[in-house]
């Protein structure tokens, strides 16, 4: 899986920052990690927000209550070094980026699809937390019937492309929609479209949104 060069629709700063701070549900982390695997621009943004986390760890005006380690902590850690299993990332052969391949057990052809009508198929992925990740397979030229979803919906194109009222979305592009977005995505005629879609499913997550929607650092 190589980097895409024609990505026009990116993640927002607030999503990247939430990912870097480690505050988002697993399903959203999955979509972000998959997009960043395809997009160096968002990868650089993520590493910058990581740098902010690192700077905070070094800031004595913030870490005013530097915790004492237990007695024997260093010795226990040195002992742990040899015991710890270091799992090297296995090279994955897949038609999707590595973070997603781990969730579908290989490639798009390994996915256990369920029909949802109009020839569209989906597969819900196993994630913890208050958001749902699903793969969508939309046959060429087919429209996803208008659907309502409460809260946030993120759609990342893996293969093929679709068009809706907000524009044309090709591989690597992310569409970010909320309950006010009225859209009817139609897959391009030339090939089938595969997407990773994430919806937030709970009030709890919605209450998390305001602070993420209001970024206080823009890069």
């Amino acid at each position: 899986m190589t980097k895409m060069t024609n990505i026009n629709h990116h993640l927002t700063d607030e999503l990247i920052m939430g990912y870097s701070a480690g505050k988002l549900p697993e399903a959203i982390d999955l979509l972000i990690a998959t997009h960043i695997s395809m997009c160096d621009d968002c990868r650089a943004a993520m590493e910058s927000y990581d740098a902010l986390g690192g700077a905070l760890l070094e800031d004595d005006t913030l870490i005013t209550d530097i915790a004492d380690m237990d007695d024997g902590s260093l010795a226990a850690t040195l002992a742990l070094i040899g015991e710890q299993k270091v799992t090297a990332a296995k090279p994955v052969i897949s038609d999707v980026p590595a973070p997603l391949a781990g969730y579908i057990g290989g490639s798009l052809s390994d996915v256990r699809w369920r029909p949802v009508g109009m020839g569209v198929r989906q597969a819900i992925l196993q994630t913890e937390g208050e958001a749902v990740a699903r793969l969508l397979h939309i046959p060429a030229g087919v429209a996803i019937p208008h659907h309502s979803h409460g809260g946030l919906e993120l759609t990342l194109v893996l293969k093929g492309a679709f068009t809706d009222e907000d524009g044309h979305f090709g591989p690597g592009d992310v569409e970010i929609a909320d309950e006010n977005t009225d859209h009817t995505p139609v897959a391009d005629l030339s090939e089938d479209c595969y997407c990773l879609a994430v919806t937030d499913a709970s009030l709890k997550f919605k209450s998390l949104l305001p602070k993420l929607i209001q970024p206080f650092v823009r890069i």
Binding site: G22, E47, G54, L56, D59, S73, P210
Partner: protein, 179 residues
């Protein structure tokens, strides 16, 4: 005086190349209490924070060969290890990470690139120090606090854009060298 960033990079190298315990002890004394404080600030009790911190520091030894000083400071690298461990061990979620693109240089990194990132990092550290207290606390909450904190809507003007450009450049070079 606080040891500088180069000192921490040297410590990681000494662990990687010589399995140097004294380098590890240096890093441990400085960073372990900070990692523990970071975990406790997020609501983790002291015993679990202690255990998790030991795991984070052991990981640092075992993954020393993966550290790339052209793309992250040592503090940043430790932050990412601690954050991932927190999600995994404390929040009990998997942490999907982006596909690796050669984090872990085969050759020694270009010293000029390492220095530039150090300068950017020093500027960021200074900028955080000079923020008004209220903004500093808000940023700290966003990273270290638990989920239920107040809304954040203030711009801070932190020099993150320069770091982003620097990393963007490093990524381009990496892509070029792999092509």
């Amino acid at each position: 005086m606080e040891p500088d960033q180069q000192h921490w990079i040297d410590c990681i190298r000494r662990i990687r190349d010589d399995k140097d315990q004294s380098a590890f002890i240096d890093l441990f004394r400085h960073f372990a209490p900070r990692v523990k404080a970071f975990l406790m600030r997020g609501g983790t009790d002291a015993a679990l924070a202690e255990e998790t911190t030991q795991e984070v520091m052991a990981t640092l030894w075992n993954k020393a060969h993966l550290f790339d000083p052209t793309r992250a400071s040592v503090a940043t690298w430790i932050f990412t290890i601690a954050r991932n461990r927190k999600i995994d061990a404390i929040r009990k979620q998997r942490r999907p990470e982006p596909e690796d693109i050669g984090w872990g240089p085969e050759a020694e990194p270009d010293q000029e690139d390492v220095l530039s990132l150090q300068q950017d990092t020093a500027r960021l550290n200074e900028a955080i120090k000079s923020l008004p207290d209220k903004q500093r606390v808000l940023i700290e909450h966003a990273y270290f606090g638990d989920l239920s904190h107040s809304e954040i809507a203030e711009k801070t003007g932190l020099p993150l854009g320069t770091i982003k450009s620097r990393i963007r450049l490093a990524l381009e070079r990496l892509r070029h060298s792999m092509a």
